[in-house]
Amino acid sequence: MEGSDTAMIGAVFGAIFGAGFGILGNIFFQLKNQDVQLINDHIDGIYKIDGLAAQYWLGESDNLPALAARISGTMSASGYFLSDAVRLLGNKYTEFRRLDGELYDLITGGSFQTTDHEADFNRATEIIAKCNEMRSLLRNSRWSIYWSR
C-alpha cells in the first residue's frame, strides 16, 4: 500500500470519527441544555409561587379565594419537577425534597383555603426565605452538575 493510500484511509477514518464525535457531542449538549432548562423552569416556578404566596400570607388581596386557587395551581404544576428531580439534582436531591416539603407545608398549611384565614407576616417571611434557599440549591446544582450559570 502506498503512502498516499494510507493517508487517504487515515483521512476517511478521521472524518468518520470526527463526525461521530461531533454528533455525540451535539446530542450530549442538547440533553444537557434540556436538563438545565428544566431546572431554569423550576426556578421560575419558585419565583411565581414566592410572589403569590407572599401576597396571600401578607393579606395583600381583595380576593383571597381566587389567589389561593392560583397558588394551588402553581404548586401543583411545580410538583411535576419531582419526577425529574432525582436525576437532575444528584446528591442534592434529599435536601431538595426536605425544602420542597417545608415549602409545601408553609404555603398551603395553617389557615390556607379556610374562612378563618388571616395574614401571617412571620409565615410570609419564612416563605420568602425558604423560596430563596430553594432557588439557591437549584442554582448550585445547575453549576456543580451541568457547569451552567
Binding site: G79, D105, Q113
Partner: protein
C-alpha cells in the same frame, strides 16, 4: 353514603381496604371545616377515615389510601384529615403509621404523602 362512593371504597382483598380520595371524595379537597367548603378535611376524616381505620385496626389489616387522581390538595386539608386523627380522634400515632398505607403512582404526589406522615408524627392529642 352514595352507592357509587361505596363502590370506590371497595375491599381490594382480605388483607386491605382502599380509599381513593379523588374518586370517593374530591379531586380538589380543600380547607379544614364545613365553612371552608364541602370537601374539607374534617368531613373526609369523619366520613371516610375513622370507621375504615377502626375496622382495619380491629381486623389487624392495613388501610390503603390512594392519592392518585388528586389535582390539588393543600397541606391544611391533609393536616385536618390525617393530623386530626391524632388530635381529635385520639388514634395512636404508631398504630396509625402501621395501619395506613399511602399509595401513589406519580412522583408529583409524593409531596402529599410526605406531608401526611409529617402531620401524623407532629400531631398531639387535644
Amino acid at each position: 353514603m352514595d352507592p357509587e362512593i361505596l363502590e370506590h371504597e371497595k375491599t381490594m382483598s382480605e388483607a386491605e381496604h382502599m380509599i381513593e380520595i379523588s374518586k370517593s371524595f374530591s379531586e380538589y379537597p380543600a380547607g379544614r371545616v364545613d365553612s371552608d367548603g364541602d370537601y374539607n378535611g374534617t368531613r373526609f376524616r369523619q366520613d371516610h377515615l375513622v370507621d375504615a381505620l377502626q375496622r382495619a385496626i380491629s381486623a389487624g389489616k392495613r388501610l390503603v389510601v390512594s392519592l392518585d387522581g388528586l389535582k390539588s390538595c393543600g397541606s391544611s386539608f391533609l393536616e385536618e384529615a390525617f393530623g386530626g386523627l391524632v388530635r381529635k380522634e385520639n388514634f395512636d400515632k404508631k398504630q396509625l403509621l402501621d395501619t395506613l398505607e399511602i399509595k401513589y403512582s406519580e412522583d408529583r404526589l409524593s409531596r402529599f404523602k410526605d406531608s401526611i406522615v409529617r402531620h401524623i408524627k407532629s400531631a398531639k392529642p387535644e
